[in-house]
């Protein structure tokens, strides 16, 4: 019990003192995860929208695969990205292993299925009348699709936040492909693992608290988006 109280106290002090080491780790975590989710959104939202509007033979299978990939274990993604980026692997010449870029790649792979599948669901869940109305008002098919995607934007924002929530708390993949190198690839989750294994519980708890605050912020944003949507549905704004 004493350890927990001490840890919480010292962890809080660490956050309040704006410790540069802690700041770097938090900033790097956010940089990696935000970059990964930005790429995943850039690729995943259009692909999700495409799947929502198109009908082709393998579509059902593709959606099932996408749903399966949503639960991909981070360590498996880490292992595959490691093998691909290793100097002895197919993309070894790029020298990306043990860099922040390798971590971004791994987290992009992790968040893409989530962003894509949830965007697909959001677009499918949008009011189908919007599509027909836009067409009847003389819009082209592409313009009509755009209208529906705009209609589904809150659900899509939720998809992006869900993707971010998945990767910011993930440890297995970034540990493998980043190597947990101090000042280069050490992020919050890998630092917590290391500090705990080294017996520095205070540092670990401090980082854990930051991570929880970030998760809380994400969920608040998510519920605000959902709340906004319910409000609109009730005939508000």
């Amino acid at each position: 019990m004493e350890t927990i109280v001490q840890g919480l106290k010292q962890g809080l002090l660490l956050i309040l003192s704006a410790d540069p080491g802690l700041f770097f780790i938090v900033a790097l975590s956010l940089k990696v995860s935000l970059s990964a989710v930005a790429i995943a959104a850039f690729l995943g939202i259009p692909f999700g929208a495409f799947l929502a509007f198109s009908r082709f033979p393998a579509r059902g299978l593709l959606v099932t695969i996408l749903d399966t990939l949503m639960g991909l274990p981070p360590v498996v993604v880490g292992l595959v990205v490691y093998l691909v980026l290793s100097r002895s692997g197919p993309l070894g010449d790029l020298g990306l292993l043990f860099t922040d870029r390798a971590m971004i790649i791994a987290q992009t792979v992790l968040s893409f299925p989530i962003v894509c599948a949830l965007s697909l669901a959001a677009v499918q869940g949008a009011d189908p009348r919007a599509f027909r109305e836009a067409l009847s008002l003389g819009a082209t098919r592409y313009q009509a699709v755009w209208v529906v995607v705009r209609e589904a934007r809150l659900g899509i924002a939720g998809a992006v936040l869900a993707g971010l929530g998945r990767v910011v708390a993930e440890v297995g993949a970034v540990m493998m492909v980043g190597g947990n190198i101090a000042g280069a690839t050490r992020v919050m989750t890998t630092a917590i693992v290391l500090e705990t294994s080294m017996g520095n519980f205070e540092q670990a708890i401090g980082l854990g608290m930051v991570l929880i605050f970030i998760a809380l912020g994400l969920n608040l944003a998510l519920s605000m988006i959902k709340g906004g949507r319910a409000h609109r549905a009730e005939g508000g704004v």
Binding site: K31, L34, R87, G92, F98, N180, I181, A182, G183, G199
Partner: protein, 272 residues
């Protein structure tokens, strides 16, 4: 949303600066967890970077994983502790040359009340025999690290194949293994460097004590190897050479000898 975008941009900008050793001049060192968890690298590398302008990125894995990593050309320099494997690595053409860097020793630690009665034994394999006979809990690294290789060699010497519920295979770093061993009142084998560093941090919470030490089989030699640029063209040859020479220099060797906890030297310099 509109206000979020500039905020994120500022954050990305801030986080992209201030890297330690992020410039083009850095090397990647694959090392054992003991050199890292004990704090030795944190003590030496800032001096190296200050003197040479070369950043050091340490990937701390067990000796087995580090050797594998270097074989696949993912590191420039190796600092590990399993001499036979290191020599095989160099003989296979993966390393340029192996140098003795420093040494310390392994110790058998366990619960202070010592249920298996191994305290003060002169022979490590006798201690292991007693632990196995009583089926007292033993925590094994089981990660193909130098310490794990040594542990298995001692079991072999004792003529025992450790198996059963009392033998806990953890697959974790030395630091994590010590922590778990303390929680489970287990015996374990550790290098003295990590042990002392851990004892300093954890104090009474560690709930372990040194029980068996001093057997010649517990000698723990660390070596340093530059990865062979002929096998791995990406190796930063000049920087790696500078690092190896710096580590073996008289001045650094003296520095290694000044790294102490509780007045005890963690790693004894042994470059020739």
């Amino acid at each position: 949303m509109k206000r979020l975008v500039p905020a994120v941009a500022v954050l990305l900008f801030l986080s992209s600066s201030a890297y330690v050793g992020a410039g083009p001049r850095f090397i990647t060192v694959a090392s054992t967890t003991s050199t890292y968890n004990s704090g030795l690298f944190g003590y030496l590398h800032p001096v190296f970077t200050r003197e040479t302008g070369i950043g050091v990125r340490v990937v701390a894995k067990g000796t087995g994983a580090s050797l594998r990593l270097a074989k696949e050309c993912n590191a420039d320099v190796l600092v590990v502790h399993a001499k036979a494997r290191e020599e095989a690595f160099v003989a296979g053409g993966y390393g340029v040359k192996r140098f003795d860097l420093m040494y310390n020793d392994f110790v058998i630690v366990g619960p202070p009340n010592d249920p298996a009665g191994v305290k003060g034994l002169k022979s490590a394999s006798d201690a292991f025999k007693k632990i196995a006979a009583l089926q007292a809990t033993f925590a094994s690294r089981e990660d193909n690290s130098g310490t794990n290789i040594k542990e298995l060699a001692i079991w072999k010497r004792a003529g025992i194949k450790p198996r059963g519920g009392w033998y806990k295979s953890l697959g974790q770093s030395m630091g994590a293994t010590l922590r778990v061993a303390g929680e489970m009142s287990s015996y374990t084998l550790t290098d003295r460097g990590t042990w002392l560093a851990f004892k300093e941090k954890m104090g009474k919470r560690l709930r372990l004590a040194i029980l068996t030490e001093g057997d010649p089989v517990l000698f723990n030699q660390y070596g340093i190897i530059e990865v062979n640029p002929e096998k791995c063209p990406h190796v930063k040859r000049d920087l790696a050479q500078t690092y190896v020479e710096w580590m073996l220099s008289k001045k650094t060797q003296r520095l290694i000898g000044t790294y102490r906890k509780f007045g005890e030297v963690l790693f004894h310099p042994s470059a020739r």
